[in-house]
Symmetry: D2
Subunit: 266 residues, 4 copies
């Protein structure tokens, strides 16, 4: 069993400078905590709650920055794709294509992502049972790509609330795909601020500890130098200054979890 990995970065790429600065800080925090890291940023927030929400720098501006981060910092890069046509160009500069939760059942997008040969990380829809992700994974593997990750990011629980069912983690693992726990969007309150989504970052360490104790391949944590001024998902993002401490805790839990995984009682 491999040790815990980290997918981290800001919700959206706000500018080249912002992305590079955040990537460097994430790299440093992860190195100090002893955890492998993939840099994450979105070039387009295609499903903002409101039409007036900022969407990011866009595909054309983002691709060279992803390439620069890979080259200068040596970090693998993940970004999300929203339609089939984006998959090929994005795959040229990133290591992992991510399928957003709302789009996890869109067959053409899954197949196009699969055909790039890159790793595909599919987020579980808020409307899906964990066992239903077996069909989603099969859409990717059926298109010839065995490199699939699945990410838990909460299930709909009444209105404007998500709940993280920790039983979902071992159920998702039955697909054979490594399981990632998204500790950022799991604490989201969708639509909870009227024209944007709310959240409560105080629960990020709570849910991340729980998931790592259960046993996951990786955690997904959005982070920002100044979350309260971020254009999206600010309420859920962990301040960069707190990231290293959180990672040290999670690494300790991961070691214990993977030591005890081998025991018959689990």
């Amino acid at each position: 069993v491999l040790p815990l990995a980290l997918i981290a970065g800001p919700c959206q790429m706000e500018s080249r400078a912002h992305a590079l600065e955040t990537a460097a800080a994430v790299k440093e925090s992860a190195a100090k905590a002893g955890i492998a890291v993939v840099f994450k940023a979105s070039f387009d927030k295609a499903n903002r709650t409101s039409l007036s929400g900022a969407r990011g720098v866009g595909l054309d501006a983002a691709l060279p920055v992803f390439a620069e981060i890979r080259e200068t910092l040596g970090l693998p890069v993940l970004t999300d794709v929203h339609d089939a046509g984006q998959c090929a160009p994005v795959a040229e500069v990133v290591d992992i294509l991510q399928i957003p939760a709302f789009l996890c059942r869109q067959t053409d997008l899954l197949v196009a992502a699969a055909k790039t040969g890159r790793i595909v990380n599919v987020k579980k829809g808020q409307f899906l049972a964990p066992w239903d992700m077996a069909n989603v994974v099969a859409k990717v593997t059926g298109a010839g790509n065995a490199n699939v990750l699945v990410t838990e990011r909460g299930a709909s629980f009444g209105y404007n609330t998500l709940v993280s069912d920790m039983r979902a983690l071992p159920i998702l693992a039955r697909t054979g795909a490594p399981v990632i726990f998204d500790a950022t969007h799991s604490v989201q309150q969708p639509g909870g601020q009227g024209t944007s989504s709310g959240g409560d970052r105080a629960f990020v360490p709570v849910l991340a500890r729980a998931a790592v104790a259960v046993g996951v391949a990786g955690v997904f944590i959005e982070t920002h130098p100044d979350p309260d001024r971020a254009p999206s998902d600010g309420p859920n993002m962990v301040p960069l200054a707190d990231l290293e401490g959180l990672l040290r805790t999670l690494v300790a839990f991961d070691r214990l979890a993977k030591h005890h995984l081998a025991e018959p009682d689990d």
Copy 2:
């Protein structure tokens, strides 16, 4: 207040002959029951549970059939679109572009549909609170198109189950958009048959009566000559032979509902 309208047809366009036959039968049932009808069929089921699920005849084959139904039967036509690029060609032959529930937050798709000038029917995501549809409607009207419909089709309720909250209907009406109740997908059991979604058509009249009694602009009912042999949503579709009787009941409830709407107690 206008009388109840109907959106009806098979889940997917299986062939030209099947679509024309079903459209003619729907037209006849609706005429006998005294209700205006829009014909609905999907050219592509883009988010089937499983990769091996049949997806329909595709865009190129479907467009001439939609045109033929409009011309020969005189029925307005609705179909759903899955990416921004489909909106313009589809708008040339249909009257209403429908946005699938999973895609109801995809800004580019909403804006592209809006810009065609056609009526846009947005299904409320299973993961959305009814009040959050105000932001979705604003994405369409903000793109210059005031002709928006919103459709209730159930909210996630635990795993593999939806629940229809009848309070959602008046809340959706506050957006100013006419409200449609989708009685077919509201009885769906998402993913409930392992590699396809289940459902229980026995509850279609139950939920449709309830919604019409509360007061809606229209109902959406999928119907098929032989639902148990349909390639998708068979468990939820009403047999064509039962449609007229159901419509007569709903028309009677609608008359009563709209008579009593004006009363102070409502």
Copy 3:
């Protein structure tokens, strides 16, 4: 099929004068609307959100008032019981013993209520599936009392929210027991005001219309001369002044619903 019946009254018996005044007003509204009515009031609110919430006049003070209402107004009376020991004395003066939703699985209470020979109305727990009420009904009939009613009053839906699943009504009817729809507590927001439960009485007519259209034996509606000053459930109660209009609407829907029940499409 019998026409719709009404169970109505204030949430709690606040005083003899208040109960008599409300009962007389309820009787008059029901008579004008042409609906049979059972008077309801609680002598003890045994499960208030907060310790400081007013609980009502108590068993000893309430029993003579129930007797007086039966005699002077000729109304059947319903009240709720909270432990087995209350069943026998309460049964001497009321027609229907009601089991609160939280207590619907307490075997001793169900059996004690059954053994009085009075009609037993069991509210479905917010935590129960509708099909699970078959076991609850069997606890009463198994104790030798076939006169059982079952009441739908909403299911837990995330935190501090209930949802009314209209499919539950025909499922509950499979128990053989007449089904009541509680339009008051279905709009409750449990615990939603911090130290008391909130609600929104604007949705009472919405849900009541829907339920009556589906087809029920009766509706349960709490009403008060001045709900905003009521000691409990004020946000959910219908002002007495609005009751007659609401009942007229429901009677019209009931007639239509029961006319159409016989049709093959239902």
Copy 4:
């Protein structure tokens, strides 16, 4: 911060011999794992799904056995009470009175339990938000008893399913009461076997690890020499033979959790 404690025993007291045997085995497993233990057994299952479900030996038979377990094994004892009248006699022989989840809002029961002066463990109702337990705790402390524990045992999530929201643990801790995680009933599928509740004990270690990693005062685990032959909650109970291994794992997680609790990032 105190180390993790354990509440463990069979769901119901089946006989004196069975209770003593199980208590001795629980004591031994806990001692080997280095965890303090309270013995738990119910003398009456007052809310079985079905009337024909076995209810246990009853109050009169159970009290001497509880006394014997305390004296001969030196274990503190917990049992649940179902009405106010049971509290005083039960308090004479047990250390902790437990309030069942369905009854957590019954004021008289809470006050009667409080007045015994014993520790009161209140299970959070499946229908309650975690913040609403502040009112429940206040009912006990308001009656003069500051020794209250609160237990998380899952929240209603659709029909026949519970979900454990790990955010509930720190929210419950804000009441000031020590928080217990019930890993047995959290995996229950209420009513899920038609006339009895189902469950899946494979998830007991999953949820227990998660809760302990978040940080709790104790875990509640039902255990049985042969769960598949137990008269109630068999599907959820951990075989006695597996208990020690599970406890060793939880003790390790607890040590880590409480070491990291002091860090600023949590």
